[in-house]
């Protein structure tokens, strides 16, 4: 008896610690096309998780498999401890905000939000209170009698969110929910989504192709490309230490310089310049590699230990910063200089310049395969 009890508690504690969603070697094939290729993934309870990638990278398919709208060709999906791989959507404790919102046009806003609760047998006053509470949370009180067609895009978006959240699901899935909104509304909704996620404490899984949106909202981001996860990490990890050329160029801009590993924490560029990198970044790599530096980490003066000589080829003033393109022995390098002083800075096209940056802001990725061909 005692043994059994212990194992029971043991399971419960483990249940709290395990990830909310776990994908184990999930593959999805549509005829000959592999949309999702052997993806394993664990999403922490209560986190705001983003699946980020270009269109066709498999992020939406991954989300749809978690929601139950697609069956994986191989692998298993867990919600908490439960294997939900074969379960239809209506048997999963997961709700979705669709890209098109998919509000029921024949039902009022109130009935749209109440839909899930009614299917679960809730009636009367508790239902009414819960729906109104939720409409307040998304800042749409008193609109319950309207039809979806009478609301603006932003309002419909909030209704879609309320309709999903009202069920207090274990996980909320968001399929590019802000894609149809204009820029200003999108920025506003990003902050609001983040606030609501903080308030309700539900795990959010958010699919987007907008790296800025993912960085603004998510605690953890999985960058996907061609059906695989390229890198998983917090926004600053992904930005400061991208592990592949794809991640480096998909999240913000990067200068990638070809070279070869030349000992502990040193890479020799094609023109012979030696660049110092964090020893961990090289991570035992030998042979051809590429060195990456973010344009805003480069100074247009000597002073840091990594240096390159070059000539300014182009200069464009864009208000908050000035963008320079400098020609060096290993190719052109983009530099963003913050305009902290009054007026544009002094360098002009044709000026000789020394570029320098710290080894700490240098990252290393595998050699650039596709460009070499």
């Amino acid at each position: 008896m005692a043994v059994e009890e212990r194992s029971e508690t043991g399971r419960v504690t483990r249940g709290r610690e395990v990830a909310d969603i776990r994908l184990e070697r999930v593959t999805k094939r549509f005829d000959d096309v592999v949309a999702v290729d052997d993806v394993s993934l664990a999403i922490e309870r209560g986190s705001f998780f983003a699946l980020l990638g270009p269109s066709g990278c498999g992020k939406t398919t991954t989300l749809r498999m978690i929601g139950g709208f697609e069956e994986p060709t191989g692998g298993a999906i867990f919600l908490g401890d439960a294997d939900v791989t074969g379960l239809p959507p209506y048997k999963r404790d997961v709700n979705t905000v669709f890209q098109s919102y998919a509000l029921f046009p024949h039902l009022s806003i109130f009935e749209n939000v109440a839909f899930g609760l009614r299917r679960r047998g809730q009636r009367g006053d508790p239902l009414k209170r819960r729906v109104e509470e939720m409409l307040e949370l998304v800042a749409l009180p008193g609109l319950g009698k309207r039809k979806p067609g009478q609301l603006s895009g932003g309002q419909q978006q909030r209704v879609a969110l309320a309709r999903a959240l009202v069920n207090s699901p274990q996980v909320l899935l968001l399929d590019e929910p802000l894609g149809a909104l204009d820029l200003k509304l999108r920025k506003q909704m990003q902050l609001e989504l983040k606030r609501i996620q903080n308030d309700v404490g539900i795990t959010f899984v958010h699919v987007t192709h907008d790296q800025e949106e993912a960085m603004t909202m998510a605690d953890q981001i999985a960058v996907m490309n061609a059906g695989r996860i390229e890198q998983l990490g917090s926004p600053d990890e992904l930005y400061e230490r991208p592990r592949t050329a794809f991640v480096a160029s998909f999240l913000g801009a990067s200068n990638l310089l070809r070279g070869r590993a030349a000992g502990e924490g040193v890479v020799r560029l094609e023109d012979g310049t030696e660049v110092r990198v964090p020893a961990a970044a090289l991570a035992g790599r030998t042979g051809p590699v590429a060195v990456g530096i973010r344009p805003e980490k480069i100074r247009l003066a000597a002073g840091e230990s990594n240096m390159l000589e070059g000539v300014i080829a182009e200069r464009s003033y864009i208000g908050v910063s000035t963008q320079y393109i400098a020609q060096t022995g290993t190719g052109s390098i983009t530099v963003y200089a913050q305009n902290t002083d009054h007026g544009p800075s002094g360098l002009a096209a044709g000026d000789r310049v020394t570029l320098s940056w710290s080894p700490e802001s240098t990252f290393v990725v595998d050699a650039l395969e596709e460009e070499r061909r």
């Binding site: 929601g67 139950g68 709208f69 239809p88 959507p89 209506y90 997961v94 709700n95 979705t96 669709f98 890209q99 098109s100 998919a102 509000l103 029921f104 046009p105 024949h106 839909f115 899930g116 299917r119 679960r120 309207r146 039809k147 067609g149 009478q150 309709r163 999903a164 069920n167």
Partner: protein
Amino acid sequence: MSIAAEQLPAPRRFDLSARAVAAARHHLLTLFAILALVYLLLPIAVVVAFSFNDPVGRFNFTWGSFTLDNWANPFGFPDLRGAVVLSLEIAALSSIAATILGTLIALALVRYHFRGRGATNLLIFLPMASPEIVMGSSLLTLFLNYSIPLGFATILIAHIMFNISYVVVTVRARLAGHDRHLEEAAMDLFATPWATFYRVTLPLIAPGVLAAGLLAFALSVDDFVITYLVSGSDQTFPLFVWGAARVAVPPQINVIGTMVFAAALVLMFLNIAFQWRRSPKGAA
């Protein structure tokens, strides 16, 4: 006189005629519209008027005198009642059956990809494209080959068959306009497939299904060629009219025709009233 006429200010006359031309141009479209409507409605008006006629002789072609007898006794002609009842029965049953089957086919064609989908699309279109005489005679051949007795059942089968195509086309048009994520959203919100169908899919396509049903009913009541070939000795209303016309045209035919027309009008006005009531007043 001629002098006086010449003394009229010429520019003014020009002005007048120009204005007349402008007015004519302005109202030309209205005029044509009225003429077209008259062209369309005149035969109906004649039918309605002659339902109140007390004809001289057996043919209701010339105006005798006004009477309400025909309306007091609409089935006062041998076999007429039976023909009307048969027509209504066939129309009701065939439109219900065709609407159910056609709606399901339309759902399958729009929502699912299955082997033979292209072929189904083509076959559904065929009955609408092929001449009725071809369809009627091939059905007759089929029934005769299998020695199925002609009558109620064969008329019903034939009507269901040609009605399905129209139902599929009407419902499919309605389905195509809807976001297929709506059904996923319902399932996502814990609705079983059955609940998804009657809470979301069916309410959304209901106007299309209703329209398809009414269209099927009308086509069935109206059909002559196919019915004639497969009816055996049974008589629907169109067959009765055609048969009667050889020996007599009783004014009761006009009465029934007027009734059908009136029923259609009432339905149409009900629809307009319904739409008007449903239109969002809050948005204005």
